[in-house]
């Protein structure tokens, strides 16, 4: 177990480290002069451009740039945004909590609906319930998030007027969370169904039935507990999808999170902000995956006692 934890933590650190290299290289992959591209919208003299170049350290050799970047990173300095000239870290710290709130609420919705639907379908395999659940699921998987969002917006906010079109209070959270949650519930339902069907076909479930245990015990103690292991292992990825999906959904509902920020940054070619965003986003995803990996290990005695 200790070895497993150390390996996971190490792998997470390596990922974050490689991310820092990737974001440093990002600005160099830009065809042409990144500084000119960034400042294309502003009236700036060649002297000003050169000043920015020096300020960003872009006139230095690349390894020195990386060293400078890492040095500042350890001091919590992610640079300043081009638009608005604010510290990138401050911007991210104010815009990240709404996204995290949206993603976790959606994940909760997706888990509750997706797991029950998938479990039910697997248990009733081959029946009309299974077919029905899977038709709903594949429709859900095929539906673009933003369209589902617009439809919900149209009916619940505009036609019925039950919920606000946009805002930042809990009422405004409902529609975006529902959009993201429902869309991912469909994905989870399909995954859960196939994981549970695998479990139901296992020899030990047959053993449990052969022992004459009541159906509920076979189902919950034997099948579901064993099934949770593969299902929990998928959650890290699910969270990542949720964060990715949030970027789009935020733009539908004008939810003021990091997703909208990212789009604005790409439009404005605000490279320091883009770099900060990628690093921050990847770190959050990696850390959450790490936590889920450890949780998964705790669930599976084969890892727990190794």
């Amino acid at each position: 177990m200790v070895r497993y934890v150390i390996e996971r933590v190490f792998a997470a650190l390596v990922t974050i480290w490689i991310t820092t290299i990737a974001v440093t290289l990002l600005i160099h992959a830009v065809p042409g002069d990144p500084v000119r591209i960034m400042y294309a919208k502003f009236q700036s003299t060649p002297e000003q451009i050169e000043a920015v170049r020096t300020a960003l350290g872009l006139d230095q050799p690349i390894w020195i740039q990386y060293g400078l970047y890492m040095g500042r990173l350890f001091e919590g300095d992610l640079g300043r945004s081009i638009v608005g000239n604010q510290p990138v870290l401050d911007i991210l710290l104010t815009r990240f909590p709404p996204t995290l709130l949206l993603a976790t609420t959606s994940l909760a919705i997706a888990v509750v609906i997706g797991l029950s639907l998938g479990f039910l379908a697997a248990y009733k395999r081959g029946t009309i319930i299974d077919v029905g659940a899977m038709i709903i699921a594949i429709l859900g998987v095929s539906m673009p998030h933003f369209w589902l969002g617009l439809l919900l917006l149209f009916f619940f906010a505009l036609q019925l007027g039950w919920l606000p079109v946009a805002g930042s209070d809990w009422k405004s959270l409902i529609l975006p969370a529902l959009t993201l949650g429902l869309a991912n519930a469909a994905v989870l339902a399909r995954l859960t169904r196939s994981a549970m069907i695998d479990i139901f076909d296992q020899d030990f479930v047959r053993t449990a039935r052969a022992k004459g245990l009541p159906k509920t015990i076979v189902l919950y103690r034997h099948a579901l507990r064993a099934g949770l292991v593969p299902i929990v292992s998928m959650m890290g990825l699910q969270f990542a999808y949720m964060m990715g999906g949030a970027i789009v959904v935020e733009n539908v509902f004008a939810w003021n999170g990091v997703g909208r920020l990212a789009i604005e940054a790409v439009f404005a070619r605000d490279y320091p902000l883009i770099q900060g965003f990628i690093l921050f986003f990847a770190t959050v995803v990696v850390l959450v995956s790490l936590i889920i990996d450890l949780l998964y290990a705790a669930l599976d005695p084969r890892i727990r006692y190794s």
């Binding site: 296992q202 053993t207 599976d300």
Partner: protein
């Protein structure tokens, strides 16, 4: 046969039919099966794969895979009631209490995320209404009775912490804890090594006597039948072909199928009086045995597991292994799972790289060969695998599969290639027009014939055969073994024959090497080693083999102290008879 009275029957099955699938693709797995089980008897239901033997028993307990197989007709009277007509709640109450079951795969039959204690106690709590404390006490008692040391501490362990044999003991403890009237054992020892099998069979017999349980033993192994059963039901393609006491079925089988089945079973000791395998061709080609084809010395291989953080030493799969093989000779490497016998076969072909040692094949130093010359050298040495289906690329036709090695080694090309391929097909007992078919269109035995034809193509001198018949039914096994003998004698092939089956080894080999935990513990001429084993492990291995003859009961298994066993270097105790000191 003495008169059988209905009142003695614990269970009587009548006209049971089970079918697979639905609608047009429906298939009868079991047809009109009837039998009776007497109190305290062991009834063996024996048959080859696809005979319906497992299905018939799963059907009794309502355990058929849902949506896949269904009971069509039949009655099964137990305790005055019909098991097949019972409502779900009633059969659930009987199952695991009055009638219990153990399965083939001990590795997967226990729930990996629940403790042994949980899995042992839950049935007792549900069926007997015991408290947790009572159930735990009973479980500890049962673990003790299946002869697992430290029973109390086992309750908190998880299945992965126990070996396969221990898990099967736990399964037996679970099945016997409720003192059932009937125990259904579905191939209970098939997945186990022969020495473990012997212990489990002994255990089942003892427990049956103590508890007075009736056993339905489902098996394909005639040795197990002879050893365990009072009466036998022989099944073939879903039907009962013969039934009788074990003595009658073995001594005077009435049906042709039973006769053929019994004739196909290799019996250890049948060749005790001959030094060589049976000659099956008129003019055997016997190359000079004085020369050496394969010479292996000091082979050592350690498999490391885990990442760079791992302090794991790994497994020593081969430890100072050495042997010689003459042209036209068969050296059998026998051992149980994990003994390193397959590793040794692969090392000779350099399919795995050894850590240390020398291998010479046909005068070439195998370890010194570069990639290209190694590929060329493979022309003289080919391999046959355990699972013929998996060892054939599913996307290539049988013809292309057989032609491939010939094409690689430039043996032939164009129409000559396909002519030779057709000839090989006929040579191994297939038809030339089978060449266009794909592996999934053949039976198990035919697939192994394809594998043999493929190996023969480039004209090898050595064939490494890794358990070539252990995935096959016994009647098919006999045919494939005959084919291999015939090919050896007419072509002068040398076999490195890797097997766990002592009876097959006796039939096939000139010399035998016994492996245990990566080391050869005994090696010598087959007759000497099997008739006069010197090493404790060889003796145990031979004593554990079930004899397919109910009149010759297997002796008591000598207790083997693995740690006290000599594993030193081989010393010559008699002419060419080497034993670990």
């Amino acid at each position: 046969m003495s008169a059988r009275r209905t009142s003695d029957f614990v269970l009587s099955v009548e006209n049971l039919s089970v079918s697979f699938g639905r609608g047009a693709s429906r298939n009868r797995a079991v047809q009109n099966l009837s039998y009776e089980l007497e109190a305290g008897e062991t009834l063996a239901i024996v048959g080859e794969s696809g005979s319906g033997k497992s299905m018939s028993s799963l059907a009794l307990l309502g355990l058929l895979p849902p949506g896949v197989a269904t009971v069509e007709t039949g009655q099964a009277r137990f305790d005055g009631r019909d098991l097949l007509a019972m409502p779900e709640a009633e059969i659930t109450a009987l199952r695991g209490d009055r009638i219990t079951m153990i399965f083939q795969e001990p590795m997967t039959s226990l729930n990996p995320v629940l403790t042994i204690g949980r899995q042992l106690t839950e049935g007792l709590i549900v069926h007997k209404g015991m408290s947790m404390r009572e159930a735990e006490a009973r479980s500890i008692e049962m673990i003790d009775r299946v002869r697992i040391p430290n029973p109390a501490s086992r309750l908190r362990q998880y299945p992965h912490e126990l070996s396969g044999g221990m898990r099967q003991r736990i399964m037996i403890a679970m099945a016997m804890a409720s003192d059932p009237a009937v125990l259904i054992a579905d191939e209970p020892t098939t997945a186990l090594d022969v020495t473990v099998q012997a212990q489990i069979l002994d255990l089942m017999r003892d427990l049956k006597r103590e508890f007075g349980t009736s056993i339905i033993l489902i098996t394909h192994d005639m040795g197990v039948v002879a050893e365990m059963a009072d009466r036998v039901v022989v099944m073939h393609r879903g039907r009962k072909v013969e039934e009788g006491t074990v003595g009658a079925v073995f001594e005077t089988p009435r049906e042709n199928y039973t006769k053929a089945l019994l004739a196909a079973v290799p019996k250890l000791g049948s060749f005790a009086t001959t030094a060589e395998p049976p000659v099956v061709v008129n003019q055997p080609k016997t190359p000079a045995r004085e020369t050496t084809l394969v010479s292996a010395r000091n082979l050592t291989k350690r498999f490391k597991s885990g990442g760079w953080l791992s302090r794991d030493e790994g497994v020593l799969a081969m430890d100072d292994v050495g042997f010689d093989l003459a042209p036209g000779e068969t050296l059998a490497i026998v051992g149980e799972s994990g003994s390193g016998k397959s590793t040794t076969g692969r090392a000779v072909l350099r399919l795995i790289e050894v850590d240390k040692g020398e291998i010479q094949v046909d005068g070439q130093d195998m370890r010194a060969l570069g990639q290209t010359s190694l590929r060329g050298a493979r022309r003289t040495m080919q391999m046959i695998f355990q699972d013929p289906f998996a060892s054939l690329n599913p996307r290539m036709s049988a013809g292309r599969l057989v032609m491939e090695p010939m094409a690689i080694h430039g043996v032939a090309s164009g129409s000559e290639l396909s002519d030779r391929c057709a000839e090989l097909f006929r040579r191994v007992g297939l038809e030339a027009n089978h060449m266009r078919r794909y592996p999934h269109e053949f039976s198990g035995g035919q697939r192994q014939r394809i594998c043999i034809a493929r190996a023969l193509g480039p004209g090898p001198k050595l064939i490494v055969a890794d358990e070539p018949t252990s995935a096959l039914d016994v009647s098919v096994q006999a045919q494939v073994l005959d084919l291999m003998l015939e090919l050896q004698q007419s072509l002068g092939l040398a076999y490195l024959f890797i097997s766990h089956d002592m009876a097959v080894v006796e039939q096939m080999s000139h010399r035998v090497a016994v492996m245990h935990k990566g080391r050869i513990v005994e090696m010598g001429p087959r007759q000497t080693v099997l008739n006069d084993p010197r090493h404790a492990y060889t003796k145990t291995l031979l004593a554990a083999v079930p004899v397919p003859d109910p009149t010759r009961k297997r002796g008591i298994l000598p207790t083997l102290d693995v740690d006290a066993m000599p594993t030193g270097p081989l010393t010559e105790v008699a002419a060419d008879h080497w034993v670990a000191a």
